[in-house]
Amino acid sequence: MQPGTLTLLLVEDDDVDAETIVRCVASAKIANPLLRARDGIEALEMLRGTNGKQKVPAPVMLLVDIRMPRLDGIGLIKAVRADPALTRTVIFVLTTSDSDRDRMAAYDAHVAGYIVKSNAQDEIFSLTKMLEYYLLIVVAPPADVT
């Protein structure tokens, strides 16, 4: 079975931070669809197609902020890992927090990577490079496991 096209789901409450990622992805000419949820609850609804949201087709790569209202990044990651239908989702954490506590919690929930957001141009560049590389090289889980 061919791997499906990876959809990027950005989970970010801050509009400017969200636009930063959108611009990054656009400038890198990444053609994968990019969707956005504003917190963990909305992300789960989009992943499951509940509460009137259209279901995001698998495979999905989540780009998750840590600090968000209602359900934060760590809570979202745990919920995704606990759901058999979502557990194969590729997750990257995007955050301003470089605290060890947040980092440990993220890796405990088996995230693929942990990216500290900053102003520095080269870090945004390396984030874009990393995404490009990941989308190019890494074969995503198949769309349907059955």
């Binding site: 801050d14 400017v16 931070d17 636009e19 930063t20 611009r23 301003t96 927090s97 605290s99 957001k117 900053s118 102003n119």
Partner: protein, 408 residues
């Protein structure tokens, strides 16, 4: 201070009591009359008149028993009082006359007389110390520390004991523990506050900077004046971000729990700092030979050198210069010196430059948060050292700081 006084007094009293015990024979134990200074006045006077060695010892013993602040008491094998200091009677609330007729069981009921006799031989060689409680005449209990030792005199065994009132010390200990807990709580709260504040402030700053950049990137019609103002917005945002970083570093600096890093020579550390500082060409860092013998842990000394050498270069008024670093071994510590050939610091500011947020030039001229030397002072102070600026006139400034010596 009080504790030291107590200890010294105890040592003198116990030591003197034993010394006297060796040389001074107590009254014939068969007579079994408790001896106390006041009740022996006539006898003592007679001995004084004779000016015998025994008389001098008796006078010394009497003075000792009157002045000792610890409750010295000597017991025979039955636990009956043979000798005691005035303070011991006061401690228990008995008069001198009452005290001289007492048995151990009066204030220490759990020390059974038979068991007591059995424990004496085991105590012969060393002074042993134990914490216990003694019962006062009014029935109240007193926390004490008792030092004791037995002494053989003319075939009989006597137990020499000295009781120290611990109630005051224990009360102070309890208060100190409470204060310490309170301090730890306040510190943890402050750490959390600094952390949260700096992260929550960083996020909008980053947004401001990005938005200004997007206007420049997306709108080709932006004129030069607007563009310059947008760049100023970015510059100010960057300055505030730097300030937040520096405040965070300052708040965390000197955290004793942090790993000190590997042990290395100060010369190797300076070489590393020179690399991370990206010293512009034209400036030279001259590491003296004395740094090769100074063994130091990397953190947090790296930060101190980074700030001092970085400052010297940043504030230099010429496009070439040199920074000289050397160490003097002052015995228990090293004293490091960092000297430059820059414009120097006017005498009036030599104290205040170590304060937080102090800069000597407008920030548009020399970018800086004014936290660099404050951090140096904090780190050095945490390790019990001092820092300062050497007196000099003319060009250049020479800063020094103390650093603990690593034993190895």
């Amino acid at each position: 201070m009080m504790t030291t006084v107590f200890v010294v007094v105890l040592l003198i009293c116990v030591g003197a009591a034993f010394a006297i015990g060796r040389f001074y024979r107590p009254p014939d134990p068969s007579a079994a009359v408790p001896v106390h200074a006041d009740s022996q006045e006539q006898g003592v006077a007679a001995l004084h008149a004779a000016e015998s060695a025994a008389g001098r010892h008796e006078a010394q013993l009497r003075a000792l028993l009157e002045t000792a602040s610890d409750g010295i008491h000597v017991l025979d094998e039955n636990g009956d009082v043979v000798l005691f200091s005035d303070s011991f009677a006061r401690m228990l609330g008995y008069s001198i006359a009452e005290m001289s007729r007492l048995n151990l069981s009066a204030w220490s009921p759990e020390e059974n007389t038979e068991d007591f006799a059995a424990t004496i031989p085991a105590l012969t060689d060393e002074v042993s110390v134990a914490q216990t409680q003694i019962r006062r005449k009014d029935g109240s209990w007193l926390e004490v520390e008792v030092s004791r030792r037995s002494v053989q005199l003319g075939g009989d065994t006597y137990l020499y004991r000295s009781a120290r009132d611990l109630s005051e010390r224990n009360k102070i200990d309890r208060e100190n523990r409470l204060h310490l807990q309170e301090l730890e709580r306040i510190n943890a709260e402050l750490d959390q506050f600094v952390y949260v504040a700096s992260h929550d402030l960083r996020s909008p700053l980053r947004a401001i900077k990005s938005l200004a950049q997007w206007i420049i990137d997306d709108d080709p019609s932006v004129d030069a004046k607007t563009r310059q103002r947008l760049e100023l917005i970015q510059g100010r945002s960057q300055r505030m971000a730097q300030l937040l970083d520096d405040v965070m570093i300052y708040a965390r600096a000197g955290n004793i729990a942090a790993a000190p890093g590997p042990l290395m020579s100060a010369a190797a550390l300076i070489a590393e700092v020179a690399v991370t500082l990206q010293v512009p060409s034209g400036y030279r860092i001259l590491a003296d030979r004395s740094l090769e013998d100074a063994q130091v842990h990397r953190a947090p000394l790296e930060q101190v050198f980074h700030n001092l050498i970085g400052n010297a270069i940043k504030h230099h008024d010429k496009n070439q210069g040199s920074v000289r670093v050397w160490a003097v071994d002052t015995g228990g510590r090293y004293r490091f010196f960092v000297a430059d050939d820059g414009p120097g610091i006017p005498e009036a500011y030599r104290e205040s430059v170590f304060d937080m947020f102090t800069t000597l030039k407008p920030r548009d001229e020399v970018e800086g948060s004014g936290m660099g030397l404050a951090l140096v002072r904090k780190v050095v102070g945490r390790l019990g050292g001092q820092c300062g600026i050497q007196d000099s006139s003319g060009r250049g400034v020479c800063l020094w700081f103390d650093w603990p010596r690593e034993e190895h």
